[in-house]
Amino acid sequence: MAIEIDTSAFTEEAYELLSELEDSLLELEENPTDQDLIGRVFRAMHTIKGSGAMFGFDEVAEFTHEVETIFDLARNGTIPVTKVLIDLTLAARDHIRALLDAAAGGDEADKVEAQRIIDGLRALDPSNSDQPAAAKAAPAAKKGAKAKDEDGPQLFRIRFKPHPEIFANGTNPLLLLGEVTDLGETRVVTHHEALPELEALDPEQCHVSWEIFLTTEEGENAIEDIFIFVGEDCEVNIRALDQEEELTTSPQKLGDILVQRGDIAPGILEDALKPIGDRLIASGAVSQSKVKAALEEQKAVKQKRDQKKKQESATSIRVPSDKLDNLVDLVGELVTVQARLNQISSTRDNHDLQVIAEEVERLTGELRDNTMSIRMLAIGSTFNKFKRLVRDLSKDLGKEIEMTTEGADTELDKNVIDQLNDPLVHIIRNSIDHGVEGPEERVANGKPAQGKIHLAAIHSGASVLIRVDDDGAGLNADMLRQKAVEKGTVPPDVELTDKEAYQLIFGAGFSMAKAITNVSGRGVGMDVVRRSIDNLRGTIDVSSTLGKGTSITLKLPLTLAIIEGLLIKVGDELYVLPLAAVEECVELSAGDVANAHGRHVINVRDEIVPYIRLRDRFEVEGTRPEIEQIVISEVNEKRVGFVVDDVIGQHQTVIKSLGSNFEHSEEFSGATILGDGTVALIIDLGKMVRFVESEEEESPE
């Protein structure tokens, strides 16, 4: 596998989807005719299948596909939703869960059960009823080779006691020890109590023995192999200490280990319960080195257990995003209070207060940065996931597709990124399956054999644009219209523009595919896309040229993102402009206005720039200042000026939603809270320009 991907994201998501699936199924049992619920069940399975395949959980994807196929019949009304179907689907849900658990290192999923579910489901299919159910092959199982690394490293105790005359055979025990050490992490204890006095020492005999605690991923056989040729010349005792209970319960007491190993009798242990090691040595019951060995054993087991614990508590945790929202709100409050504290401390001549205020300021700043950084993620990691998807899918379909990305460092709120994954999976799958043609067809149409899919993220004012471009066949608006009329979604006498026709692909159950494949064609995917993007309050724009390619652009608001803002003043109120769009600020004097004969244009270095006076726009009463400021911005690739009373400066802007009441506001994308606790509105330049344009078109004055 060339590309390493973090599969935990998928399993986490899949577990969530599975519980959703269960809920929906149980609800469906109550209302078996509810199309919406059937759709929900179907979408959940479809997403599990899709992301499953993407992350290499082939078994999950294949199994889910089987279940989905039958459920599709229920969705079309071919078969009714019966108790049997629900029971089987629930069983299937449990089996998918078992498959996921198995992949995460749990027990192997029951294949017999899987076959029973699939056979049961197939029996429900009227077109299949005459076929023997077991005729089709069960989903392939590709396990077995993994057994070794699934278990992880194991801890062994090796007692190696060479016979005194081992040297006579030319064996060097140190080399053997070296080989053992090579297998993994070791702790070695030497037993030298058998060593005679110097005068009695026969240097040609071996008097020492060793105990080795080895943590290794190799099996017991590998250790035995080392000693295979010296079996006759020594005592070797290998024992796996890695029994589940030894690692999950607390480490064994030293005395227990000694007793278990047969080094002391249980009675002696009872005698010597205080500083146990010393007492045992003092009583002569056990040599110092034996105690040491036991201690080492205890240590090794404990270390292993700690490691295991660490593995179990994963490196990342999934937190409900409303908890993060709460945290951000609290930090926002804290920042506001801190600003007030600073203001007060600066007016009092109290050194102690000032010191505290400064400390609070520093801590608040760090807390704010940390909190925000928790929420903001670069979209790159999401992009990377799709490389695998494109690679595998295009191979399956016999297509050559290269994927390129752009703007991977664009930061988006974690919320948004999480919810972007599903829709992007579906869009890309669609592009690969329906968009990009096979190599022969491409060459025949004069295109390079290798297709291209380009994934881009771009900041655009208060939004982020995510664009998926392909250079495939493009959408055929006429065919879409025809299909919509056939399906009855659109009355035959309604004329749709191309843009409107493209939007049809997002309808539930709408599919242009002639055959249902594992990849797409059921008309669920794009329905998921629209729902997810609606939930994010984003918009979808499709443009396509027949024969040239399709481009799908998701425009997402930066709901809870931070932007660099430019704080400006109009009348008594402060507003924030997104700094990303701002190009420069110039002065607008009364003379400039007179020059243009009251028309709202200004000459900036020989370029005519139209402007919008925010004072007029916001119906601010009072007189204009002598010299106003124009903030020149780039909006929709055009330069537009915004006339303000004063430019205050840069401002780190935490975007707050204005709430549903102002959702349709023409000029504001949100609000932010300033240091003194008041609210400033964030101006959506693009929207405002569009709105002014359409107003002026309607009523040219």
Binding site: E573, S660, F662, H664, E666, I673, G677, T678
Partner: protein, 160 residues
């Protein structure tokens, strides 16, 4: 059902708008704030006073007097913002209502509340749950969910 009918009286918070007594079911009220500076949102109807910062969230404030076609609220020491939890189709939202002053919390039994008359209140009768009597004064009991419904407030563009 019987229990419900003879249910103990409900508690209401009363407040003044232009010397008239209005009341809101106390379970709808989250808190009452002193008047703080309200940021005006341009191009919104007159009754949309603007938005305030309520401990980090942005909460819209409606001028109740303006909403009921009275002269706009002038700020006094008694002016306050009643923070309400309003049920909308999309769930619970928090809104502020600007009132001249907050009076008291009182209990009104079902016998003390009469259905709103169709005419004569100078208010749209669907804004009222009923009219109560207390110490010889009328109390207009408001249907907060109706008054703050999206339809009522999204006149934003129309009024602009």
């Amino acid at each position: 059902m019987d229990e419900q009918l003879s249910a103990p009286s409900t508690q209401y918070l009363t407040f003044l708008l232009d010397d008239e007594v209005f009341a809101v079911d106390i379970s709808k009220i989250r808190e009452v704030l002193e008047y703080t500076s309200v940021t005006k949102v341009p191009r919104t109807p007159r009754f949309m006073r603007g938005v305030i910062n309520l401990r980090g969230s942005v909460v819209p404030v409606v001028d109740m007097r303006a909403k009921f076609q009275m002269p706009s609220t002038e700020k006094t020491v008694n002016t306050c913002i009643i923070i309400l939890e309003v049920a909308t189709e999309e769930g619970m939202t928090v809104m502020g209502a600007l009132a001249d002053s907050v009076q008291e919390v009182m209990e009104l039994g079902p016998g003390q509340i009469e259905p709103p008359p169709k005419i004569g209140t100078r208010l749209r009768s669907d804004f009222l749950i009923g009219m109560g009597k207390h110490d010889g004064r009328f109390i207009m009991i408001l249907d907060i969910d109706k008054i703050f419904s999206a339809d009522e407030l999204s006149q934003v563009q129309n009024a602009a």
